[in-house]
Symmetry: C2
Subunit: 215 residues, 2 copies
DNA sequence: TGTATAATGTGAAAAAGTTCTCAAACCAAT
DNA sequence: ATTGGTTTGAGAACTTTTTCACATTATACA
């Protein structure tokens, strides 16, 4: 198949598939069918096959997929065969929670630097990670080979921070500020909006069909 | 129009529209057209009208929408005309960051309680919010009228926590653990998966089309 | 009152995404 | 080799979501 325009829904699922395969590999399972993956992880087998087929023919008919081999393919496809250096902008509550999280984690992402505008925070450290002045972003990012930025500043500053980091050449940004951001189309922006998620839950609770209420 | 099966994409956008209207109201703007909202917040005007039309006829032809009136409708639709009490399970780094965040916030959601399994944490407080033993969840949740739960425990415990809270009658759950959870269909589960989001960004960086690289 | 302008609400068309189905390919056993 | 059981990959069918296009309804003003 080998298509070129892959939807984000598909790439998100690729990440999920990788996680599933990691679990299978940990258990020493060598081959697995799309049907087995689907059953175990509550997914749809046709969708798994279709998603994978966008990227190549990884399976063997009558057999399924070789777990190790497919893992390698997925890691390659997702760009996880290289280390990514993450900078977090905003050394507040969320920023520091994320720093600890990714700093301690076993993934290909490591937090290389924190940035803030508050002079009293600059120079301090969160765990191993130093807090720099946001003014020095371009310089530090170049030196530390930052390729992913997480925005964790108050909403009103998010757009300006976004522009600062994209001007410095950053192409991938994850945003936690509840603010609709405008970005150049050659930059990938992913906004995680907790308010929207919570309000969507609230909508569900408000529906009569849901037959809510304790007991 | 007044349909009954509304997609989650639509409800998420309703939350966005409400945020936009709040901003307009703050500026003293009284009426606005779908086109104006779309231009300003980088949305699609036809989609705004279609989304709103699922719930009623809120606009006036030739005029647009009355900002205050539409806000009221949106808040009602999203179930934001009542307070929601949130419990966060897992008083770790993420759990405490979220507690502070929502505790300080101006929304209809307030964090009423934290729960943990670690005996050394139980009885302590994060800001104003007490940490309870997860064993006492049903009891405390009933007393404090908890209606939304946030799961912030390590992945391996997420499924069991989910079952505990749904057994206690909780119908809306937001999950941060990177774990595929199985849930009853009368419960709304929303998983926010940072690993998947980051890996999706990494995929984008790995694409040759993206012409990446600093400078 | 009539005409020009504005902007909604909604069917229809288009696009995107998911699921079904089955020929083709593989393995194991005879 | 041939048969039978499996499972992929991919076209077709179906579903959902988005966008288009415009008749309809409202306002303003002559
Ligand atoms: N805390 C949470 O759990 C949480 C959850 C979801 C979303 N968010 C969002 O994440 C963002 C941060 O939340 P928080 O609770 O960590 O806030 P916070 O106030 O604790 O931290 C924000 C930090 O950003 C810094 N900052 C401000 N302007 C800056 C700039 N121009 N450049 C660099 N740094 C700057 C501040 O000095 C501060 O240290 C907000 O937009 C919030 O809505 C927070
Ligand atoms: N820290 C982050 O920034 C971050 C970001 C995204 C996702 N996550 C996810 O959120 C979850 C929590 O992350 P964290 O960094 O806060 O971890 P953490 O280790 O700091 O905190 C986890 C807490 O959960 C408690 N816990 C364990 N089992 C429990 C149970 N059965 N019932 C109640 N409490 C229990 C632990 O005692 C601990 O206090 C993890 O699944 C993690 O993958 C964390």
């Amino acid at each position: 198949m080998k298509s070129d325009k892959i939807s984000e829904l598909t790439t998100n699922r690729m990440s999920i598939y990788l996680r599933c395969l990691n679990e299978l590999a940990d258990e020493g399972i060598r081959t697995v069918s799309s049907e087995k993956i689907a059953k175990r992880f509550h997914l749809n087998s046709a969708q798994i096959r279709k998603d994978l087929a966008y990227f190549g023919e990884f399976g063997v008919r009558g057999v399924g997929y070789y777990v190790e081999e497919l893992r390698t393919h997925l890691r390659k496809i997702l760009g996880l065969n290289k280390e990514h250096c993450v900078a977090i902008i905003g050394a507040g509550r969320l920023g520091t929670a994320l720093t600890d999280y990714y700093g301690f984690s076993q993934t290909n992402f490591s937090v290389a630097a924190l940035f803030d505008a508050d002079q009293s925070k600059i120079g301090q450290k969160v765990g191993e990670v130093e807090i720099f002045d946001i003014k020095d972003f371009a310089e530090v990012a170049e030196r530390d080979k930052i390729d992913v930025v997480v925005i964790a500043v108050p909403a009103e500053f998010a757009q300006s921070v976004l522009e600062q980091v994209t001007n410095a050449g950053i192409k991938a940004v994850m945003n936690f500020a509840p603010s609709p951001l405008k970005v150049d189309e050659n930059v990938k922006l992913k906004t995680i909006d907790l308010t929207t998620s919570l309000e969507s839950l609230s909508y569900f609770l408000a529906q009569p069909a849901a037959k809510n209420g304790r007991k």
